[in-house]
């Protein structure tokens, strides 16, 4: 079971790498960045191919995923041959490049060891624990079983008896879970699978890649904060869909930021696919994708907006449109705050907003879920505001972080549930969507202040020199 589960993770990751090779070429994106983004992008690639194949009569299985991988690999090979030669050398944008390496110090080795240990412990827990989480059983896991080789198909979602499973929720996560033996109806009872734990490792990895320009210690701090985050660990083990959404949001925001701020052309194609992928992963992903796309369009230089709009449109057509067509044939199911939201409902619910907001400190301040994470993020945002835009990338990422929040709050206020129940069931879960991006911002601002020292060759050292000598 564990070997088969590991194979499912590998299949998703390889599809991600093949998709990146197809879109821009791994060398152009940078090997490290491509590997770190492979799993979240793989989720999007897998769902984008698996859905039409499923509708054509091929149930989701590891065999069908291998077929998808072959198709993607052939397409990537053809695209690589047709790409204009010579391919630019594997240079990454200045701020993405790692500083000149220096020997690992004992503390750094210890931190890296602790991160690996925590991630391995989470993976072992996930491999031992059978699927038990209510939402997983009722929504994501049930759909995964229905879509798999021994499943009964999407007809199940059209039956009123399964309205509780939210038939209109996006299918990218169940399509990935269907590769796990735990969600094959014929498999014996075993562990819940490794996809969730692998997704946390990928999130920590991508955060480290984004932060390495600040030095190795900053990268380790970012990865460590995410790996240790108690709620992220729980969600990773329990196979919930919120962590994959958070991972994809980080990848989408990080790559689009690299394009808007650094003119990193290789990041654009993968970034827009990641942005579109948000919409097929969870309902909230629609809000994240809309906010990220709109903010990127505003931020992009005037001459490049059309190019970005075209890329976003193409990604939307390829990734989201097939799902929207399918969704239009499915019943709405249980009440849904994001799709049921109308202006009148949102306005009438605004009166409940203060009550929901008042619950934020209780949930975001819970040490058992967050440690002191949001305190650190608050400190960083205050530092960023005081820095008067000196940290261009971090400022932009903070705008992206805060951009979707009003949409989330509107959706929450429009929900029919009592505010207390909304807060209990959703606040921590929704906050997790923002946690990886918030980590990158917080550690970036901390590094700028010299929190991790001034590693030679890093931006932190440059910031230290600027502090010492004044701006150029």
């Amino acid at each position: 079971m564990t070997a088969a589960s590991l194979f499912a993770v590998v299949l998703i990751g390889l599809q991600g790498l093949a998709a990146i090779e197809l879109l821009v070429g791994m060398r152009r994106l940078g090997w490290t960045r491509a590997c770190a983004a492979a799993l979240p992008i793989g989720l999007v690639a897998h769902a984008t191919l698996a859905l039409p194949l499923y509708l054509a009569g091929l149930p989701v299985s590891q065999g069908s995923a291998v077929l998808q991988l072959v198709l993607l690999g052939v397409a990537a090979r053809i695209a690589a041959r047709r790409r204009p030669a010579p391919i630019p050398p594997a240079r990454e944008p200045r701020e993405q490049r790692a500083p000149r390496t220096h020997p690992w110090r004992a503390g750094e080795r210890l931190a890296a060891g602790l991160i690996v240990l925590v991630l391995v412990a989470l993976a072992v827990t996930a491999a031992l624990e059978p699927p038990v989480e209510w939402d997983l059983l009722a929504i994501w896991g049930l759909k995964a079983k229905a879509l798999g080789v021994s499943g009964t198909g999407l007809e199940l979602l059209r039956a009123p008896a399964f309205a509780y499973a939210h038939p209109d929720y996006p299918l990218a996560w169940p399509l990935a879970l269907a590769l796990e033996p735990a969600f094959n109806a014929r498999a014996p009872l075993g562990g819940g699978g490794l996809l969730g734990a692998a997704m946390l490792a990928a999130t920590a990895g991508f955060a480290a890649v984004m932060l390495r320009r600040w030095g190795r210690r900053a990268a380790l701090a970012g990865a460590g904060l995410l790996a240790l985050l108690p709620l992220a660990g729980a969600q990773a083990v329990r196979g919930q869909a919120d962590l994959p959404l958070a991972a994809l949001f980080l990848v989408a925001a990080g790559l689009l930021c690299a394009w808007t701020e650094e003119r990193d052309d290789a990041a654009l194609a993968v970034g827009v696919v990641a942005t579109a992928g948000l919409a097929i992963l969870k309902q909230e992903g629609m809000a994240l994708a809309a906010a990220l796309a709109a903010l990127s369009l505003i931020r992009a230089p005037a001459g490049t907006r059309l190019r970005l709009a075209g890329a976003l449109g193409a990604a939307f057509l390829a990734v989201v449109l097939p799902w929207l067509f399918l969704r239009s044939t499915l019943p709405a199911g249980a009440a849904n705050s994001f799709t049921d939201m109308t202006p009148s409902r949102a306005l009438s619910g605004l009166a409940r907003l203060p009550e929901i907001l008042a619950a934020l400190p209780l949930y975001l301040g819970a040490p058992a879920d967050w440690g002191a994470f949001w305190l650190l993020v608050g400190l960083a945002l205050a530092g960023l505001a005081a820095g008067r835009g000196r940290l261009r990338q971090e400022t932009w990422l903070a705008i992206v972080l805060l951009g979707p929040v009003p949409l989330y709050l509107l959706a929450l206020s429009a929900t029919a549930w009592e505010p207390e129940r909304i807060a209990e069931v959703t606040l921590s879960r929704l906050a997790l969507h923002f946690a990886p991006l918030a980590t990158v911002i917080a550690v970036g601002v901390a590094a700028r202040c010299g929190t991790f020292g001034r590693e030679p060759g890093s931006l932190a050292a440059a910031a230290g020199r600027e502090l010492h000598e004044g701006p150029e």
């Binding site: 827990t125 031992l128 624990e129 059978p130 038990v132 989480e133 209510w134 059983l137 896991g141 049930l142 079983k145 229905a146 039956a159 009123p160 008896a161 399964f162 309205a163 509780y164 109806a185 014996p188 009872l189 075993g190 460590g224 904060l225 240790l228 985050l229 108690p230 709620l231 729980a234 019943p331 199911g333 249980a334 009440a335 209780l362 819970a366 040490p367 058992a368 879920d369 440690g371 002191a372 305190l375 650190l376 400190l379 209990e424 606040l427 921590s428 997790l432 601002v445 901390a446 202040c449 010299g450 929190t451 001034r454 050292a461 230290g464 020199r465 502090l467 010492h468 004044g470 701006p471």
Partner: protein, 193 residues
């Protein structure tokens, strides 16, 4: 002096902001590690559990698994209060999970089973764990069953003893409960073919 007239600060100097961040990151790591300790103990318990059924019963128990109520602060508090009052109280979810796993082998694949005790946890757990067999609360459900209230309204509430009715409606079995103990009645079990 810096060019803008502000006093120069050596780049080796630890700024107050850096100190504040070090404290915040240290607190974050310390609190997170403290929260992870019960999970390590839980992992040990999972590792020594004899089989997947025992591991699942442990994982589904909100009072024994530190992962069960993640993100739900009020629910955690309620569980802690209940644990103080009655240490022997059983977890309903763990009982339900164990029941469906243990009885799964008695349910023919693709069959239909009536849930005589309409309850959303039982209904949703059963439909996942017995898939592709289906757990139902009524033979023909026309309204969407989105939550426990819908389920209770739609339920036919036939007793499991009414085997003729169960057979006539195509049910292979029926689930009811005596107190907290769930029971599966297989319609044709123990009868001559």
């Amino acid at each position: 002096m810096r060019r803008d007239g502000e006093p120069a600060v050596s780049w080796r100097t630890v700024t107050p902001a850096a100190v504040a961040f070090r404290i915040a990151i240290g607190a974050c790591c310390a609190l997170s590690l403290a929260a992870l300790l019960p999970r390590l103990a839980y992992l040990m318990r999972l590792a020594v559990a004899p089989d997947a059924r025992a591991r699942g019963a442990l994982a589904a128990d909100e009072r024994l698994s530190p992962l069960a109520a993640a993100g739900q602060v009020r629910w955690r508090r309620e569980l802690a209060e209940r644990a103080l009052k009655d240490r022997t109280e059983s977890s309903g979810l763990a009982l339900a999970w164990t029941f469906f796993v243990e009885e799964g082998s008695r349910v023919p694949a693709g069959s239909r089973v009536l849930l005589a005790r309409p309850n959303d946890a039982l209904y949703q757990f059963g439909n996942f764990l017995w898939f592709p067999a289906r757990l139902e609360v009524a033979p023909d459900v026309a309204v969407p069953l989105a939550d426990g209230d819908d389920l209770r309204r739609a339920a036919v509430r036939r007793p499991c003893a009414d085997r003729e009715w169960l057979r006539a409606n195509g049910y292979a079995g029926c689930v009811d409960a005596v107190g907290a103990r769930l029971r599966l009645h297989v319609v044709d079990e123990g009868e001559a073919p």
